[in-house]
């Protein structure tokens, strides 16, 4: 059932990656870790695009979409990671500790 010549195995890998990315986004309190989860989700979407283009349509259109997603991820990384890094200067972790009563 789980073979390299079967569409469903790739879709299951994509689903597992998506769930792990969603778990990361939901649980982490650190903006950098949340962005790592977003990268996992983008990768899982890419796997689905390329798998469907290989097995279902037989054309290369899905790979074009995957390349666009990779390009957008690069643009997002160029802006979002410096934002995270800069905001960590202004908001030190001690600000997020619960106040003593």
């Amino acid at each position: 059932m789980f073979s390299p010549n079967d569409l469903s195995s790739y879709l299951i890998i994509g689903a597992i990656l998506f769930s792990l990315g969603l778990f990361t986004v939901l649980t982490r309190r650190n903006a950098i870790s949340v962005l790592m989860g977003v990268e996992l989700i983008l990768n899982s979407a890419n796997i689905n695009y390329v798998a469907f283009s290989h097995f279902s349509s037989g054309s290369t259109d899905g790979q074009i979409y995957a390349i666009f997603v990779i390009m957008l991820a690069a643009a997002e990384a160029a802006v979002a990671w410096p934002l995270c890094w800069l905001s960590s200067r202004f908001f030190t972790p001690s600000m997020w500790r619960p106040r003593k009563r």
């Binding site: 769930s19 792990l20 649980t27 790979q63 160029a78």
Partner: protein
């Protein structure tokens, strides 16, 4: 078992294991380095899917570019070695239930649906086809992509420079 099947299992295990490391690790540095395995494994999956150009792009941009940015952001962040602060997680049980149910639904959908099948599986070099498609049917998105990249470039410069007050 064929050798290609064994390699496919290896790649899948590396991908999923590294992604699980990213999601569950208590240390943010381990999470960041596990992203290397996840991105590399996804590139291997692209190779299995006959997408050679996308695999090369994945290695160049994700592993060569985004991962380096991630490591920079992680290493330069304030007090990163303090594990208690750096990678705190909250609400793990609820999130585990939600994502578990979602994963179950997704896998059931994948296994229960009869997907459309292509007439034949092609294993050819795709670079020429992708270039033709970019300059024919996908010309407008291609140009818009260059605009987006230009905006991101300017935005990154504007964010990260220091403002000089007179």
């Amino acid at each position: 078992m064929e050798i290609s099947t064994a390699v496919f299992y290896l790649v899948a295990i590396i991908t999923v294991g590294s992604a699980a490391m990213v999601a569950f690790s208590r240390n943010i540095i381990y999470s960041a380095f596990s992203l290397l395995g996840a991105f590399g494994g996804v590139a291997g999956i692209y190779v299995f899917l006959g997408a050679d150009f996308v695999a090369a792009v994945q290695l160049l941009i994700y592993v060569g570019g985004i991962l380096v940015l991630v490591l920079f952001a992680v290493m330069l962040t304030h007090r990163i070695t303090d594990v208690q602060i750096t990678n705190r997680a909250a609400g793990r049980l609820t999130a585990l239930i939600v994502t578990g149910v979602l994963l179950y639904l997704l896998v059931e959908t994948v296994r229960g649906t009869s997907w459309a099948k292509a007439k034949e599986l092609v294993h050819q070099a795709t670079t020429g086809t992708i270039g033709d498609l970019f300059l024919e049917s996908y010309l407008l998105p291609f140009e818009l992509a260059s605009l987006v990249l230009l905006a991101a470039l300017i935005g990154a410069v504007v964010i990260s420079r220091k403002e000089i007050k007179e």
